[in-house]
Symmetry: none
Subunit: 199 residues, 4 copies
């Protein structure tokens, strides 16, 4: 009887290899041959588990999104302090990227691809809306009602902007930390300016 339960292992193996390949060779240079070699498996296995290269790319993108989602869930659940919660959102959004450059490159690739793939565009949209929604949820408890939407957009753009600039420049850790601090300061400033007097 052949090995069972390999599917999970192989899928993880191949997704990890894909992330490495995209980081090292770029999207164009990420061929099934390159991925296979990195994962130490044959090329055929990709079609076997993902139905083809496109399926693997898709799964990799979903993996990144899911990872980010989990990161948020792990950082934010048990607090009623909305100020702290907003800071935690910042931490979560930079956490995975801070860990490795792989994710940063792949996020950028993912965004670029999403402009010409309805499927990826939908995923990207969900992700984008979640950030806004998370921000608004806490902002509602802290600042004037009519400023919530505007502030959420501001902070979201600030996060993505730092994120993008850091990805493009050969990032040191310091700049990541600086980005996190700056985002938090911006939040504080927003709360300070539009904060509810009594709560």
């Amino acid at each position: 009887m052949p090995k069972v339960g390999m599917e999970k292992i192989r899928r993880a193996q191949l997704i990890e290899a894909t992330l490495e390949a995209i980081e090292k060779h770029g999207f164009h240079g990420t061929t099934v041959s390159v991925i296979s070699k990195k994962a130490n498996v044959s090329t055929g296995i990709i079609s076997h588990y993902f139905g083809g290269k496109a399926g693997l790319i898709d799964a990799t993108m979903r993996y990144l999104l899911e990872e980010l989602k989990q990161e948020l869930l792990n950082h934010l659940p048990h607090t009623k302090n909305h100020h702290a919660r907003l800071h935690a959102i910042i931490d979560a959004n930079f956490a995975s990227v801070q860990r490795s450059k792989k994710a940063a490159v792949t996020w950028l690739v993912f965004w670029t691809q999403s402009m010409h793939s309805a499927d990826l565009a939908r995923l990207q949209n969900v992700n984008s809306k979640r950030l806004i929604s998370n921000l608004k949820y806490s902002l509602r408890h802290l600042i004037a009602k009519e400023k919530v939407e505007w502030s959420a957009q501001l902070i979201a753009a600030q996060i993505d902007g730092f994120w993008l600039r850091n990805a493009l420049t050969h990032t040191q850790h310091s700049s990541h930390n600086q980005a996190v601090e700056t985002c938090k300061t911006l939040i504080d400033k927003v709360i300070c300016d539009y904060g509810l007097s009594t709560k």
Copy 2:
């Protein structure tokens, strides 16, 4: 009887066709054949004038950067009102994108490619530094010295962040205008908070 002065015309023709192709078909779908058809020329001409597809892509990226540079030069040449100058920087940075979707897609592609091309990375870096430098030049006249760098980074990230989010969502004009307004408000807020008492 060889036509002279065709080089300039052909180069412009092909760069424009490349921008259109990337917008319509994405980077992956932008083949030499597609570009040639859009430009109504033969495929061979690309190698003739640009030495190959890579040369054309490179030239297209440089064209975008040059365009942005000119945009900035045209909007902020002769003013000593640094508050107005900062607002003009915002306008300039969103102007080209506001005009067409072409640039937005291509910028994203450009950034992604720049991560795996030393040449493009250098161009991107120059561009990124110019924005910071332009912001700092005016901020120095308006806010406390020790806040200049930090504020420039903040505003630059804000610009890129809005820019990115707008590119990824199917942008309406309203959101572009909103982005411009929000960036200007952020600038005002920074000046208000850290502004020099006397000027």
Copy 3:
């Protein structure tokens, strides 16, 4: 505890599945995977019992030939009425095909393959000669000696011709019956024209 006597069962199972696969998906679409699924066994079993796909195909062809041979043996064993015997040959040759479309498609495939396989070509040749030989055996009792060979060739071609045309057009039963009738009429005509005056 190894099951014994599985070989016969498995071989029959797989040959039947192969016939079904060829009928449904054509020769090109008949992959090891398709056959295995139809037979509800693993892919490995094919190599185990037939040494590979080629062996299974070969066995399937032999099975068809054997089936036809048996059909003939069952229909014409104990008769000395050679006129009836000739008619029985016709019946036998159309019997298996009349039963299902499977055989028709597979026969055609078999013939085609036999042109590039010495092994199959030999089988096909034996089969072809048996029909002629069977026809001649009875014809010798009914018609002039010098017309026997010619008539056998005529009738054999008539059988195969009808068979082929019926296989290619989406056959109704009526056309099969018509083919049988026409072949029998041809036999009668031959006997009538070249028949021995006394018998």
Copy 4:
């Protein structure tokens, strides 16, 4: 300016190479690589002129059909002698095959493929009907009305049957001639049996 008018030459070259490849290596062994080498061109050219291997196979089949059609047109136009016309149909149907074994193998492949391709099936059907129609046209002038259809089916099957049997056995010219003679004799017999007394 590049060479013009090559399309016709290349298409003919490739179709001829395909016929040779099918004859020599069978349908399965007929790869684009094999065809290209036989035609002394690159593999890419097949997609260029035929949109892919399938297009080339299709064109090859159509070529065979067209050739047969022309053969018929060339042999039958200027005669009002319907007896001679029927004999000419026989000649035409065996002519192309008599010339080379290539066509014979390919016809068989074509027929087999046509069972799983709607497109090829339609072509095959048109071809099959044309033979019947041609036979009936002349038979109507020669034999009793109620025997026309039956006789046409008989003769058509006879032709195809000989054709098939000759293709399968390693044909000598003599057997081809014999097939032609036998078919003609069958026609004569039919006319003799069912012929119109007066015309």
